[in-house]
Symmetry: C2
Subunit: 336 residues, 2 copies
Amino acid sequence: MTKNTIIAPTKPKLAFELVRPQIRKVEAQIREQVEAFDPEVAPYIDYICKTSGKRIRPALAILTGGALTGQPNSEHIKVGVILELIHMASLVHDDIIDGADTRRDEVTPNARWGNGLAVLLGDALFAHAMTMATDFNSIEICKEVGNASRAVCQGEIRQTQARFDLKLTKDSYFEIIGMKTGALFATATKLAAKVSGADEATQKSLYDAGMTLGTAYQIYDDCLDLVGDENDAGKTLRTDLERGKLTLPLLHILEQADRKQVKVLQSRINEDQFLDLDFMESISPFPPAIHYSVEHGLKLIAEVRQSLDVLPTSKFKDALLSIPDSLEEMLRRCLI
Amino acid sequence: MTKNTIIAPTKPKLAFELVRPQIRKVEAQIREQVEAFDPEVAPYIDYICKTSGKRIRPALAILTGGALTGQPNSEHIKVGVILELIHMASLVHDDIIDGADTRRDEVTPNARWGNGLAVLLGDALFAHAMTMATDFNSIEICKEVGNASRAVCQGEIRQTQARFDLKLTKDSYFEIIGMKTGALFATATKLAAKVSGADEATQKSLYDAGMTLGTAYQIYDDCLDLVGDENDAGKTLRTDLERGKLTLPLLHILEQADRKQVKVLQSRINEDQFLDLDFMESISPFPPAIHYSVEHGLKLIAEVRQSLDVLPTSKFKDALLSIPDSLEEMLRRCLI
């Protein structure tokens, strides 16, 4: 595999370079949150808050804020920190559910301290992030943060209950990823607009941009699981199907299965045998399913750009646009 | 065991009879919350919201509100509903941690749907309760609810990390139960005062009343685990020591252990042998430890009554006072 076929996530450089000082503040503020906790609880929170992350949600809030006000300010940074903490709390719980031992080369809280403590640490982070939202002195912001958190949980619940459900529709899949991934992206861009004093229509447009971007990102992530290279991706791949997670390419293949094939799949599930890629490929080859999914992702990316039209031209807008640009590139590489 | 030696929790009749219509509204509103959830998530939430509970937190909010305004209103009820939902969310997660199959004769969410879904359902309930707090249009109320939730989580974290820790001090124990149980009781009485327009000093006094009552209640619950009758209590007892939960009576016994006894205990823990009551009893008999704990609880109850002095005389105040009265009776029965 040559360098240019790597389809692992790459940070859109332009976006992150422009707001590097602000992202550094995000990192510092995430680490500082430990001070809000009981001294005996703090070391655990500290461990979680020292883990790295792409910080895509903070970047979205900061760039949107910059594009609307000319210079990202402390409120945009705070929006980013709060939403990133909620994301981090959800990852702590995700790792329990998936039984994951490592994330980004770090031992997960559940692997380090057991599931019980990890459940409670995620809870404490969740509660803390939602309490932080009150610093804005705006009931509407608290409501948005609460709604986004609830949406993330509900998306995960629906994803969990839809595992191995061969009747899952593409519509349900889109609803699920919209809640699971879209909601926090959308709340990042919307709240950045809100604290910038943008009008309702602008907030709505930016909410849509975030929601659509999050959805496209999740489609990419789902394709990556099927066609990515583990070394490049930096995480274990080919796990979705084994866990019964029916993603867009897999749903596309399932749509083409005849009755007999569905029956075989169903009996494999009933017998607690793992679903496997070979059987799926015997229904229909992967490349067209990936192609379909990538095409859908690209359509969404076009919508993201359209929603971002609401922003005036600026270097921040350009940097923000580099995020869907980069995602488009990542998606296209899935076709190779 | 004759009827009058039953030391199981009993609802203070006077308190609950006076506000029966309001408690019924609490029950109805808890069940109605299901409507705020995604239709595919709703059935799970519905199951959790249909479970019963003593509703002590709502009763505290409603009686405090009645005592301050002459008649409990919808805001007092709402305070009760929000705090009860947070309590319910924490129980969903507790049952995962304890591996409990039933609670109040109902199958627990973790036993019914597995730990993964139960983690997420607790999260969704937490997020929903905190979002509901925004209905008050008061940042301070959101902050209090957030702080109380975080305190509950932190209390549970400290309790979990203190398991089998023979160096746990009584001071730490009191801090833990103050967070774990006291915080929601205190927030119930304080917020009821706040929405009733009470001044800061009154709010503070009622916060103290709730905190002290919650602490005394937890001490009773800890004694019950050691000396209660399972049939009367309606739950499995004698589990604290086995789980390494060092409660006040056990800490009192440990204080009297000599070096050799502590060494034996420590080696039992190191060898993953369960701590057992017989060994604890060989250090020092239980009755004096229970006596010590009950005495401490009674001292706290006297403080609760003192803090409630801030309320004007009324039937609601009398009913509110019947809660510590009833707890005093329950504590005294632990001595028999």
